[in-house]
C-alpha cells in the first residue's frame, strides 16, 4: 500500500493521508504508524483519501479505530516511540470521530464498513474541497 501525506489549511490545518492499494493485515500497521507520526508532528485533523484504496479488510478497520483514538484523545506521550504509543491507543476507549473523515471510499470498502456497522459513524465525502472545508 502506498501512503502519501500532505497538509492543507482550511478553517483548520488538515492532514491528508492518501492511500493506494490494499489495507490489510500486512499494511495496516503502516497506516497506524503514519498517524502516530503525524500526531506527534502536530496533526489534529485527518482526512483519509480512500479513492485509490482497492481493498480493505478488518485489519483496516483496526487502523481506523486507532486513528479515531489518536485524533480524538490526549496527545500521545512525547518520546514514547511508535510501539509505546500504539499501546497507549489500544488502551483508550474514547475518541472524537469529528477529527477523522473519509474521502471517496470505493463501493467494496464501503460495503465492509457497512457490514461491520461502522459506515454511519464516519463523515464521508466524495469531493476533496468539501471534505477539507468540513473540518
Amino acid at each position: 500500500m502506498d501512503i502519501v501525506l500532505s497538509k492543507v489549511v482550511g478553517r483548520v490545518p488538515v492532514t491528508i493521508v492518501r492511500l493506494a492499494g490494499s489495507l490489510d493485515g500486512s499494511t495496516y500497521d503502516d497506516l497506524v504508524n503514519v498517524g502516530i507520526e503525524a500526531e506527534a508532528a502536530g496533526a489534529t485533523d485527518l482526512l483519509l483519501d480512500m479513492r485509490k484504496l482497492e481493498f480493505m479488510s478488518s485489519a483496516g478497520m483496526v487502523a481506523l479505530q486507532m486513528l479515531v483514538r489518536l485524533m480524538g484523545g490526549e496527545s500521545t506521550p512525547p518520546g514514547g516511540g511508535i510501539a509505546a504509543n500504539r499501546t497507549v491507543l489500544v488502551g483508550r476507549n474514547t475518541g472524537e470521530l469529528a477529527h477523522l473523515r473519509l474521502l471517496g471510499p470505493t463501493p467494496d470498502v464501503l460495503r465492509v464498513l457497512e457490514v461491520a456497522g461502522l459506515k454511519d459513524y464516519f463523515a464521508i465525502y466524495t469531493d476533496e474541497a468539501d471534505a477539507i472545508a468540513s473540518f
Binding site: 493485515g25 481493498f55 478488518s58 479515531v68 456497522g117
Partner: protein, 131 residues
C-alpha cells in the same frame, strides 16, 4: 495453492481465490465477499495459528454441485475460529474494543463455514458459498 504463508502473501492469495470465484461465475459483489472471507481466515491462521511466523498453508478452490468451496488447511495448533463470540456491532467505533471483526465478516460473507481438526494435526476451514 501451497505455500509457507506470511502476511505478505495475502494479496497473492486474494488474487488466486478471485480467479477461482470469477471462473465459477460468482457475481462481482459475491467475489468481493469471498475474497474478504478468505483474507480474514488466512490472517487469523497467520496471526493466531502461527503467531505471526511463517507456516504451511494449502488453499483449494473448487466448484461442485452448485457450491463454491474454499478449503484452507494449515498445520497450526488446533484453533476453531467459529468459537469466537460475535462482536457487538451496535457499539460506536470509539467505544468498541480494537479488532475482533474478522470472523464476523467471514460468517456474514459465507453461506456455510465448517472447521475440523485434521487427523495428523492442523486445521481445515471450509468456506462455502452457493452458486
Amino acid at each position: 495453492m501451497k505455500l509457507d504463508v506470511t502476511l505478505h502473501d495475502l494479496a497473492a492469495i486474494r488474487e488466486f481465490v478471485k480467479a477461482g470465484a470469477i471462473k465459477a461465475k460468482l457475481n462481482a459483489e459475491k467475489v468481493h465477499e469471498v475474497i474478504i472471507a478468505v483474507d480474514e481466515a488466512v490472517t487469523n491462521i497467520i496471526v493466531h495459528g502461527y503467531k505471526r511466523k511463517t507456516g504451511p498453508l494449502e488453499i483449494e478452490v473448487t466448484a461442485h454441485k452448485k457450491m463454491f468451496n474454499i478449503n484452507l488447511r494449515d498445520q497450526a495448533p488446533s484453533f476453531n475460529p467459529l468459537m469466537f463470540p460475535p462482536p457487538d456491532i451496535t457499539l460506536p467505533i470509539d467505544k468498541r474494543p480494537i479488532g475482533g471483526m474478522g470472523v464476523y465478516l467471514i460468517m456474514r460473507a459465507m453461506d456455510k463455514v465448517d472447521h475440523r481438526t485434521l487427523p495428523g494435526g492442523g486445521n481445515e476451514l471450509i468456506l462455502t458459498v452457493k452458486l
